[in-house]
């Protein structure tokens, strides 16, 4: 290369670098603008809930004050009323029982299903795997009428145990799908090594696959937990007695009396109801993301 050529090429390379910098700066600015907008959009409802839960009934009812701030001073009256005057704790307990049972059933069924469908290749396994996912696509608004008949014939109407029976129809297909994807990302040599080492299929699953696929397992658990915790339609249809209600339905049916809305308690109940999933997400977010993306990136 001649001296002239070097002289010519240097500023061009410099301008390329600065244009790259400029592009990156614009990309970052655009990202931040939209992220801030999204954050405001999504954080407004929880903020409104927190603020309302810390107000007295009188302040909530007063139309003149600014609804976005606590004007009369912070009070925990709504929390006291919720715990002492309503059946909120029963709803919370029912929801917890249903969710724990559903998560346990879902994980046992979907891990076994995913392992057999994903790893123990047998005739029709891939069609079955697709079929399981297709069942997830049927909306629950179509399913609740036939399910109502089934629940009634089993004598489980107006019992939260009907949720334990019915929710897995929502959670198992999706969790199985997540786990199939995760198991598929584990090299097949790993189960072959385990088989040669003398492990049975069940030992290969429990001692190799489950520990290795833990992020996927956690992702599936979080999904099952969230789906069961926040389910509204099925409990609304299947349960009526106060002692059998779960939280989302209980809050709505007992705290809205006729056309009177107990906004303070509704917001407090919703806030407390949202806390467990929030805590679980906060602690397990990294695993959740790793679990959902593993199948896509490792092939």
């Amino acid at each position: 290369m001649t001296v002239d050529a070097i002289n010519v090429s240097t500023p061009r390379r410099g301008s390329l670098r600065s244009s790259l910098k400029r592009n990156r700066r614009w990309a970052l600015i655009t990202s931040y603008v939209f992220l801030v907008l999204f954050a405001i959009f999504f954080l407004t409802p929880p903020y409104y809930m927190i603020v309302t839960s810390l107000k007295s009934d009188a302040e909530v009812a007063r139309m003149a004050t600014n609804p976005w701030i606590v004007a009369d001073g912070i009070t925990l009256d709504q929390y006291k009323l919720l715990f002492t005057q309503t059946d909120f704790l029963i709803y919370f307990k029912n929801t917890a029982i249903v969710t724990v049972c559903v998560v346990a059933i879902t994980m046992v069924v979907s891990v076994l299903a995913a392992f057999s469908l994903g790893r123990m290749k047998f005739w029709g396994s891939s069609i079955l795997a697709t079929g399981i996912f297709l069942t997830y696509l049927v909306p629950d608004t179509l399913l609740f009428i036939p399910l109502f008949q089934i629940v009634r014939s089993l004598g489980l109407l107006n019992s939260y145990w009907s949720m334990v029976l019915v929710y897995p129809t929502l959670t198992v297909p999706f969790c199985t799908w997540i786990m199939i994807g995760y198991f598929a990302s584990i090299p097949k040599e790993l189960d072959e090594a385990a088989i040669i080492d003398g492990a049975s299929w069940l030992q290969t699953l429990t001692r190799i696959f489950i520990p290795v696929a833990l992020p996927g397992l956690i992702a599936a658990t979080i999904f099952a937990f969230t789906a069961s915790w926040a389910q509204f339609l099925y409990p609304l249809v299947f349960t009526t007695s106060t002692d059998q209600l779960v939280m989302p339905v209980g809050i709505i049916t007992t705290l809205i009396k006729g056309d009177v809305f107990n906004w303070g308690q509704i917001m407090t109940g919703a806030l407390l109801g949202a806390a467990p999933p929030l805590l679980i997400y906060a602690f397990l977010m990294d695993y959740y993301i790793a679990g959902l993306t593993a199948g896509a990136t490792k092939g």
């Binding site: 040599e189 072959e192 090594a193 088989i195 080492d197 003398g198 492990a199 001692r207 290795v212």
Partner: protein
């Protein structure tokens, strides 16, 4: 006793026959390498011995017992995989002891076996680490350790060095050889690298298109290949093949390469080729080391000729020279002092005492 024998073993996937009725006997303590290009059926054969693939037809016996329907865990074999297949959530010690723990061996015995294998492989100070904290070479040692602790009847290696860089591969090759010298377990080793096959094996099995082309010691395969495939596959750079024909003149055999170039066949070789029909289409097979610079004093069977070099590759201790002979690219090995230069003429000599003559149609070495 841990001989392995394969009798008319066939593996068919739908319409594709991956292994086409192979027979192979591996003696106790023997180190046998299956070598061949991708898709030749070598890995499938190994996996059938392991029990990871069902056989379509034939019999596989380990230690005299037919194991066609015996599951892998009951075959008393250990396998080392190309990608190590270490359990990522277990430490090195846990990886190595997994099989023994499944078989409920006493803890003291497990500990002593793991320590012994770790010492042998020089990984004693790594046994509390997880696989992700190890380098490629260390992982492969652990994979070998996992096989060794079981004291199996047969070791199976499936391209264990393919994921390592060139330098580490040479190092690990020596390690594997040392381990075999110590434990003397019957070993079947699969590779596509002929250098690995030659350096490790007691006997090499060259496979091509689901069939065994030739079985022999590394030297037998190198010096007496049975087919063009073996002759071309074993040796680096590969053997040169030039179309030729035999001519008889005044009771002597001549090898005619071109209208202008013909060499007398050395007496020692002539007897072998006496019955080859005249005008049969033949190939001269000659290894690069038998195409060297011509000496001033000729030797019997070493015939000089002039050529112009296309490319030279100085390797330090030797220089590889590439030239064209009647449209065929040839490779020779000359001394760095021979003055080989690209585009320049060089007087080379072909050592016909080491020639091979092949039938061009069948590929068989005559």
């Amino acid at each position: 006793m841990a001989e392995v024998s394969l009798r008319k073993v066939v593996k068919r996937y739908d319409d594709v026959e991956a292994v086409r009725g192979i027979d192979l006997d591996i003696a106790d303590h023997e180190f046998v390498v299956l070598v061949g290009p991708s898709g030749c059926g070598k890995s499938t054969t190994l996996r059938m011995i392991a029990g990871l693939e069902e056989i379509t037809d034939g019999d596989i016996a380990i230690g005299g017992d037919v194991v066609n329907d015996v599951p892998p865990k009951d075959r008393d074999i250990a396998m080392v995989f190309q990608n190590y297949a270490l359990y990522p959530h277990m430490t090195v010690a846990e990886n190595m002891s997994f099989a023994l723990r499944l078989q409920r061996y006493p803890k003291a015995e497990i500990k002593s076996r793991v320590e012994e294998a770790a010492r042998m492989l020089d990984i004693s100070d790594l046994i509390d680490r997880k696989p992700k904290q190890l380098s490629g070479g260390q992982r492969q040692r652990v994979a070998m350790g996992r096989a060794i602790v079981r004291h199996p009847k047969v070791f199976l290696f499936d391209e264990p060095l393919s994921n390592l860089d060139a330098k580490l591969r040479v190092q690990m090759r020596i390690e594997i050889k040392k381990v075999h010298q110590k434990v003397r377990t019957t070993t079947v080793y699969v590779t596509h690298d002929q250098v690995e096959a030659m350096t490790l094996a007691d006997r090499v099995v060259v496979m091509n298109r689901g069939r065994i082309e030739q079985i022999g010691t590394p030297n037998e395969l190198y010096h007496n290949p049975a087919t063009r495939f073996v002759a071309g596959f074993i040796g680096s750079p590969a053997m040169n093949f030039v179309p030729c024909r035999l001519e008889e003149a005044a009771g002597k055999l001549n090898l005619r390469l071109t209208d202008r170039l013909a060499f007398p066949v050395p007496a020692a070789r002539a007897a072998r080729y006496r019955n080859v029909p005249p005008n049969e289409k033949l190939l001269l097979g000659i290894r690069p080391e038998h195409l060297a610079e011509a000496n001033a004093h000729g030797e019997p069977g070493v015939e000089p000729f002039e050529t112009v070099l296309d490319v030279t590759e100085p390797m330090g201790m030797e220089t590889l020279v590439y030239f064209t002979l009647e449209g065929t690219q040839m490779c020779g090995r000359v001394s760095p002092a021979a003055g080989a230069r690209e585009g320049a003429p060089l007087r080379l000599a072909v050592d016909l005492n080491n020639m091979h003559l092949l039938n061009e149609g069948t590929g068989a070495v005559l």
